[in-house]
Symmetry: C2
Subunit: 132 residues, 2 copies
DNA sequence: TATAGTGTATATATAGATATACACAGTATA
DNA sequence: TATACTGTGTATATCTATATATACACTATA
């Protein structure tokens, strides 16, 4: 299965961390149920045009945090996760993203009304084709 | 003048880049008018608890992008910027932040309604003390 | 001209990304 | 049942980017 994730070369966020957070999102969002085999580090590194070591590092961190389980020679699989932890992670991740966006808006001097207007625009544009 | 900026040690975004984007936001937002002297690299590095080289790098990048002008021995100053460029940068920066937030929400499986609800919550919490 | 403020340059350490060679698991087939 | 093969994860060495300390140079002014 091809993971719907996307890394940005331009972003200053490390690639391994972009992979990590996106895979985590797919897991806590329920798109990747427990037991699901993840793409091998090689297949994924090829998809994302990065090194095997980079995808491996992402998987290693996800394993440390209890989201996946990797077995040498066999592959990497989504672990069973407590419903509470999933819900908490999911909520937190989205709220954080919006807090960052609002803070960014305030730093360039947007009023609450400006912010609401821009949010609306983004939601509209999303519906009409996604292309910003 | 003490800049209202804040760097996160935990963030995977490089410190020099956090400084860079935040100072840029203050400039295009109009909080730092043309001619305003920025804090010296030493003062700023002390405020932010980072190295002088780090603040310097941020200033160098901002200078390359035409936002500030630094003069050896004297200091660093906000440049005159075209109104159009300012408005464009301002808009772009905020829209990008919201697009990222919405994409994050979608990746964990939020519906449009979920997203609107969370946005509302974040805006409410902001009013009631900011402390999330 | 001494001093305290500014920015600048050199060398060094840590983190992120890579290529390449290695080890384990499953499977086809001689 | 051997064994070759292809798939998986693992380890070592190397390079670039990020962050730092420290010494240097320019500007203003007491």
């Amino acid at each position: 299965m091809k993971l719907p994730i996307r890394v940005s070369e331009e972003s200053r966020e490390p690639i391994y961390h972009q992979i990590e957070t996106q895979v985590k999102s797919l897991i806590v969002g329920g798109q990747l149920p427990p037991g699901t085999p993840l793409p091998s580090i090689r297949v994924l590194s090829n998809d994302l045009q990065c090194s095997v070591i980079t995808t491996r590092r992402a998987y290693q961190n996800l394993e440390s945090n209890g989201f996946i389980k990797t077995v040498q020679g066999k592959g990497t699989f989504v672990k069973e996760i407590e419903t509470i932890k999933m819900e908490e992670t999911k909520q937190k991740v989205v709220i954080d993203a919006f807090v960052r966006a609002v803070e960014q808006a305030e730093q360039v001097g947007c009023s609450s009304e400006d912010i609401r207007r821009i949010f609306k625009e983004v939601m509209e544009n999303k519906r009409n084709g996604g292309g910003l």
